[in-house]
């Protein structure tokens, strides 16, 4: 086992365990922090797979923006300081069973990919610098991803306007939001 493989397994294990802790944590803010650990582990996995740009985007957006947003909203609810009690309900065994089934289905699909059985990952033949530049060029290439690129900006605009519209009436209706 090469060191990279060992590191990959350790990181994957860390990601799975911290994901379990996200749902099992009795305190809300702890769950948000376990989520950050999970996202960080995924970023490390991206680095190990030579997808450095995606790894950095993962940390910058997910941990730097979305996790902070989640923590903001978690901390601003009044019950956050208290424990929420045991997180599992009575049918947890059923949920675990369905989870295992889904995992088995995913595995069955994955083993059909030829690269799964190769000892070394397929070589790409181009440098990481070229890939990054190609990504940029493809985003504005008329034959490739320019339409999703522009639609993404419209989607972000919709999200922005939606959030502002949703948050505003809370200001007007007295009570909350008063300084």
């Amino acid at each position: 086992m090469t060191p990279i493989q060992i590191l990959f397994l350790v990181t994957a294990l860390a990601a799975v365990l911290s994901a379990i802790m996200v749902v099992a944590s009795p305190r809300l803010v702890h769950a948000a922090l376990w989520l950050i650990v999970t996202l960080g582990a995924v970023a490390v996995l991206f680095v190990l797979l030579d997808a450095a740009f995606l790894a950095m985007v993962q940390v910058a957006i997910y941990i730097g923006a979305i996790a902070i947003l989640i923590i903001f909203t978690a901390m601003l609810t009044r019950r956050v300081m208290g424990e929420a009690g045991p997180q599992a309900n009575r049918s947890w065994w059923l949920a675990a069973f369905i989870g295992v089934l889904l995992f088995g289905a995913l595995l069955a699909l994955l083993v059909q990919v030829p690269a799964w059985w190769q000892a070394t990952p397929p070589t790409i033949g181009v440098t990481a610098d070229f890939l990054l530049e190609d990504l940029g060029a493809s985003l504005v290439d008329l034959d490739r991803y320019v339409v999703p690129f522009e639609v993404a900006s419209v989607l972000l605009l919709a999200a922005l306007i939606g959030a502002i519209v949703l948050a505003r009436p809370a200001e007007r209706s007295g009570g909350e939001g008063a300084k």
Partner: protein, 399 residues
């Protein structure tokens, strides 16, 4: 050896390690580990000097002497302060979340030291030449923000939490113009790697090609580092000490260290991205000159940082936010658009790059001045109108 001591030392170390029985891969990994340790130690020890320098400069600006008792010119003052802090009690408040409480200061320091890993120190001397270094800067900065949030929450103190919220709100707000300003050197260099950005400034420093972007990055980085006039995060007269109320002794000391180091780091980043980094006369024959050039330029920019800190009054939180969202962000968007279009037009029409960019930046600057002048006039008229409508002061019968 004289011309390139860094490569020479690296090769020497590798030979020694391979001679001791390690494979080349293991030797390289060990050298990286030692390098990381050396860089982290050097940077943290540098903070002693930085604190002294900042106190001295601030003192002179305020017409006083600053530390001058402990050691020659007060140089050992920081060591004395550190020793004093070490002997104080670490008071952990009741109900505090212990793990997070102790995790927050090292996390904040880590986010600053991590920035030094991608700063090119000299032509062949850099910690890590990743090709996504610019986004790495953003990511690691975001982890610092997280550290502050943890500090505020884990103190079990509503003022710490409130201070942490305000701090984080300000920090994430100022990340937007910083990220947008970082697009400009990326565009001009065609790469996100720091070494590529420094190398492509050989013909012309980016501060000449994009002065507004440099100013934007510098200003928003100062806000990110919590330097005045954006230092309401620890306005002692307002919210006591904000997120680090409940921190004492060395835990507080580490926050302090991280903050001072961040100021110097932002100067180093501004120099690398806009002022040519280690570029200078003769640097390709004698690579160690690069380190000296970098430190000199960074010292100059750092002096400006401290100068601004000692001169400008602190902004209120609503002023801070208005300045960001209503001035810096629109300006950043305009600068990115103008840079992109102007550079492309200039190269396709055949003008030189430098004059075209200078003209474009100049136009944006003039446009900004015009907008600010109109805004200032509108505000003045509004306040004068309000004063004119105020009730008569004297002579009117008081109810």
């Amino acid at each position: 050896m004289i011309s390139d001591p860094f490569t020479y030392l690296g090769d020497l170390l590798r030979e020694v390690l391979v001679g001791l029985g390690l494979t080349t891969g293991q030797a390289a990994a060990l050298i990286q580990f030692l390098g990381a340790g050396a860089l982290a130690t050097a940077v943290l020890l540098l903070t002693f000097l930085l604190i002294w320098a900042e106190r001295k400069i601030l003192a002179r600006i305020q017409d006083r002497l600053g530390p001058n008792r402990v050691g020659p010119y007060g140089l050992l003052q920081t060591i004395a302060d550190a020793a004093k802090l070490l002997t104080k009690e670490v008071i952990v408040p009741d109900g505090a979340d212990k793990l997070l409480y102790y995790l927050a200061p090292p996390l904040t320091v880590m986010s600053v030291v991590g920035l030094w890993a991608v700063i090119p120190l000299a032509p062949n001397l850099i910690g890590s030449d990743i090709n996504v270094a610019v986004i790495y800067l953003i990511s690691i900065g975001a982890i610092g923000t997280l550290g502050i949030m943890l500090a505020g929450w884990s103190s079990n103190n509503k003022y710490a939490l409130l201070g942490a919220f305000r701090s984080v709100a300000m920090l994430i707000s100022y990340e937007v113009p910083m990220v947008l300003a970082l697009l400009v050197p990326t565009m001009l260099a065609g790469s996100m790697g720091m070494v590529a950005i420094v190398e492509s400034q050989r013909s012309m420093w980016f501060v000449v090609l994009a002065p507004l972007a440099a100013l934007l990055f510098f200003t928003s980085s100062m806000a990110e580092a919590g330097k005045a006039p954006f230092d309401l995060l620890e306005a002692e007269s307002e919210i006591v000490a904000g997120y680090n109320i409940e921190y004492s002794s060395m835990a507080f000391g580490m926050f302090f260290v991280g903050e001072f180091l961040h100021g110097f780091t932002l100067a180093a980043l501004t120099v690398t991205l806009f002022f040519g980094g280690w570029l200078g006369p003769g640097v390709h024959t004698y690579t160690w000159l690069g380190l000296i050039y970098l430190l000199l330029k960074t010292a100059v920019v750092y002096f400006v940082v401290v100068w601004v800190r000692g001169t400008l009054p602190r902004l209120r939180i609503d002023q801070v936010n208005a300045f960001n969202w209503k001035f810096l962000v629109p300006l950043a968007l305009v600068v990115v658009v103008v840079t992109a279009v102007a550079d492309k037009l200039a190269t396709s029409v055949g003008w030189g790059r430098t004059p075209a960019m200078l003209v474009a930046n100049g136009l944006v600057f003039l446009g900004t001045l015009v907008v600010m002048q109109r805004y200032g006039r509108a505000q003045r008229l509004k306040y004068e109108g309000r004063a004119a409508m105020a009730p008569e002061p004297a002579g009117a019968p008081r109810p």
